[in-house]
Symmetry: C2
Subunit: 362 residues, 2 copies
DNA sequence: TGATCATGCAGAAACGTGTCTGTCAACGCG
DNA sequence: CGCGTTGACAGACACGTTTCTGCATGATCA
């Protein structure tokens, strides 16, 4: 009855194994496993007895052994493709934080945990962790890690349409073209004659799709494109680019900024040039931050709904892992939300919140 | 020589095991293991041959099996104690994101990966993942998970002094009292007569230490405390509290806000009451965001240096895991950085950046 | 009363790796 | 020429769990 008794071999004194529980409860290993996992056909008395003994010994099943035996680790990779040497891009912070938070919650609710793994990383780290599947944010078809994961047969769900012909299991994305077109129409409705764009020099799909949509819109309405591009990972470059955009001879009377800090940067630049917002300059930027509700004036923002995306991505991935033939589509488009504030309205606002494409309430 | 040959048992066709490599290379399992891990005493020819065959077969050692055998998983938990039902507090976002980024980088550089695990979470998730150690952000002595980890003998390093008598392996923190005192002195030097505080209702050590330091400073200089507290996880409550603070009959002429969004909130509130910053109201807030460099006027911020903290925490933890008797102290205090901008200076700024306590350059 | 069957539980085989022990050949040396 | 030594490798075990198979025991029924 000594509580320190362990298996015949001198295992770690701090950890009790399933054998110790079996010995202490006077049953076999099988019975312990079945009792704790609710698997076999045992009388409730035995089940309770085993559980009580296990609790008393502080028994915790070894995750490694369980993973080895079952082939499931309960771990999901959360991957960000990197452009510089940093794990993730600075401008993605608010988006990434929100998205990761939602993904963590969703995974946790279904018994999974998230592992942060930059796509560009030492190979040994990737192979050292047993993953059941992976979430990839904005994957590039250049990423050798992602293609190898797919080749190994692991489920891969991407946030953002996969570039090239990357055969991911499923993906979730916003309709970036529609979002940009909606914003441009919104600005034109507010009286903008020449709409500028603050965009990035990176090659990710978000930047690419948004810029392309802008250029096509300009072509359609017959406006000369007015845009400045800068490396989005450099916050200082953003301020400089905002300044450059407003210093141009063909200065726009409305600007949409693709990245989170663009709003304050553009506001500061407008102030330097004596431009009043929204009277002389209409402003919209893509951001998840609430600071734009309290700036002077409050700035209209486009939210990509990272929480909904994070949740959806994890649900799709776990469905694929568990082989559940869920009725969820493997390609989900999450609607964006345009939060209209003073900066994009020449008249006092009538509505505070309106979705960009669907007039009915969400 | 058929490439599809597998072990005697019909294992997954996609995954090659160490037995397959041994068979294909015409050597034993031991030789393969030694050749790949650089362990045994093998001629270079054999070593190269085995590695080549392993590469050709696309062999990846099973992480689960390795973990089971070696007892090391290469996984580090990243834990945030939660106050609401969300995985982490909203106001910690920028701090958490920066800290997590640095921690991820540091862990990766030493061959480890990070697992996000809310402290308040289903117990089965915690026991389902094999951790080598855990980083805990702002631990509460109420957290049963943390105390159990410590009891299990796992290394636990905390960001923030452990509350109560939580026996963590090591911790890293800022000197919050010194930081607050430095800011108050800075504001007083700039001419503030009555300094207010925007603080939180939560019981974490950061809020507690900062508030206590403020109250002691007030007592020392003989000023009546002027502060408003609000639940920090609610962004709207922050705006309301900022408004309340400036609406008081004993309105302060300088305010320090403990949380990230306080700067914009206070600025908006000041604008509503017609207070000019910094002429009528001096402003400082604790934030990691760069938006405060471009507000009107730019706002002085206190940075807690989350990147240095994240790096230090991970280094300490991995040192403890690997049993390296490192010369690093087990209690590290990271200096904060006061980034002085217009909002806290009645005169035009002489220096743009100055550390709060040490006059010499960092 | 003996055959059938469901029930409750024990034994043992994996999962895939790292590593301890042991074998066999070659070789140096007295 | 015999013997100890060393290099190069093979065999076998253990890590801790899950689960398949199978053996008792008692109950049910012809």
């Amino acid at each position: 009855m000594s509580r320190a008794e362990t298996s015949r071999r001198g295992s770690r004194p701090g950890r009790a194994g399933i054998r110790d529980v079996a010995a202490a409860a006077g049953v076999s290993i099988t019975t312990v496993s079945d009792a704790l996992n609710g698997k076999g056909r045992l009388p409730d008395a035995t089940r309770r007895h085993v559980r009580e003994v296990a609790d008393r010994l502080g028994y915790r099943p070894s995750a490694a052994a369980r993973t080895l035996r079952t082939g499931k680790s309960g771990l999901i990779g959360l991957t960000v493709t990197t452009y510089g040497d940093e794990p993730f891009t600075f401008t993605e912070f608010a988006y990434f934080a929100e998205m990761a938070r939602a993904a963590t919650s969703a995974a946790l609710a279904r018994g999974y945990a998230l592992v942060i793994l930059p796509a560009t990383s030492r190979h040994d780290v990737w192979s050292n962790v047993a993953l059941d599947g992976t979430v990839v944010i904005d994957p590039s078809d250049q990423d050798p890690v992602v293609s190898e994961l797919v080749r190994q047969g692991l489920p891969v769900v991407s946030d953002g349409r996969p570039a090239g012909s990357l055969p991911v299991t499923a993906w979730v994305d916003n309709d970036h073209e529609a979002a940009v077109l909606g914003i441009l129409d919104h600005l034109a409705d507010a009286g903008a004659r020449r709409i500028g764009l603050l965009t990035g020099t990176t090659t990710d799909t978000y930047t690419h799709l948004s810029t392309t949509a802008y250029l096509r819109w300009c072509e359609r309405v017959g406006q000369d494109p007015v845009y400045e591009a800068y490396p989005a990972h450099d916050p200082c470059a953003g301020a400089v680019a905002a300044d450059r955009l407003l210093a141009r001879p063909d200065r726009p009377d409305a600007v949409y900024g693709l990245f989170d800090p663009n709003g304050t940067d553009l506001l500061a630049a407008a102030r330097r040039y004596g431009l009043r917002v929204p009277d002389d300059l209409l402003l919209v930027c893509c951001s998840e931050s609430t600071v734009y509700a309290h700036t002077e004036p409050p700035i209209t923002t486009l939210s990509l709904k990272p929480r909904r995306i994070g949740t959806a991505v994890v649900q799709l991935l776990i469905d694929a892992i568990e082989g559940a033939d869920s009725d969820r589509p493997v390609e989900q488009v999450i609607p964006t939300e345009l939060i209209v504030r003073t900066s994009s309205q020449r008249r006092p606002p009538r509505t505070t919140v309106s979705p960009p494409r669907s007039p009915e309430k969400t």
